[in-house]
């Protein structure tokens, strides 16, 4: 996109996305005080955060207007590395419960 070209969607779209993101942040606060705790709360909060991130990347960072090959590049590379990192985090359950191959 050159310097003179505008992004798709007007300011109204930007404001709608902005209000959506604020609303989801409010939803996270409500979820936190709704009574759920532990893993259930973590999963719910993380899902909302991921939806916020996807919306912000697509609309605020205008990734949806880029070439599909670039979208795939960002998505696949990022998700692969995140999955690899998450493998290390879930390993913490093994450490809490003891080495599985000892039994």
């Amino acid at each position: 996109m050159s310097a003179g070209e505008q992004h798709r969607g007007g300011l109204g779209t930007d404001i709608a996305v902005y209000l959506c993101l604020l609303g989801m942040s409010g939803l996270q606060i409500i979820l936190a005080y709704a009574g759920t705790e532990g893993r259930q709360l973590f999963v719910r909060l993380l899902v909302v955060a991921l939806v916020q991130a996807v919306i912000a990347v697509l609309f605020f960072m205008h990734l949806r207007e880029e070439r599909r090959s670039f979208v795939w590049f960002v998505a696949v590379f990022t998700l692969f590395v995140l999955a690899a990192l998450t493998y290390g985090w879930t390993d913490s359950f093994r450490i809490i419960n003891g080495v599985p191959f000892a039994h």
């Binding site: 505008q6 992004h7 993101l21 991130a53 070439r67 090959s69 990192l85």
Partner: protein
Amino acid sequence: MSEANLTLGGHGTGISESPPFAIPTKKLAMWLFIIADAMTFAAMLIAYGFLRNATPNWPTPFQFSPSIVNVMVMTFILVSSSLTMLIAVRAAKAGDKRRAFTWILFTALGGAIFALLHIHEWVGMIEEGARLFQNPWGTGLFGAAFFSVTGLHLLHVTCGVVALVVVGLRYERGRYNADDIEITGLYWHFVDIVWMFVVPLVYLLSIAR
């Protein structure tokens, strides 16, 4: 290879060669930086999750007032600054330099207020006894994790504010164009997205009940 390229030591790249993914090289560079930085934050947050899972007496010190209220205000300011950044990018693309520069300054102001509120919160926690390796509520690892994660984000916000002011001034004086404003905006939106993960994982999972 042409004789001209041999003479100049060139690599024979064609002048009609299109940039990767058909986006400007500097924009691709910013996206690559954002992906790499996202991995850094992901590693920090996953390490924090690892510590939290493996530690039985993890503190839950965040009262609704003032901590969560402060976090809500900070979130509102940061998300609003992303909106002002979008308005600045639109104005720059439309060629309205003055309006673009004004909205860039609003964005930088939002970032500065966010940073001040963050420091205010840190001071409050330090006054309550939170340190890097000890605190009055539970395991000493809490302080190291909390100050590391939020400190890294605060550093990014601060650098972003400086970048916005510098890029905004250079744009206003004609050295940079609208593409540079858009690229700076990408970084600012990334900082906002990271905060959307820091709030639930660091604050909301540790609210005082």
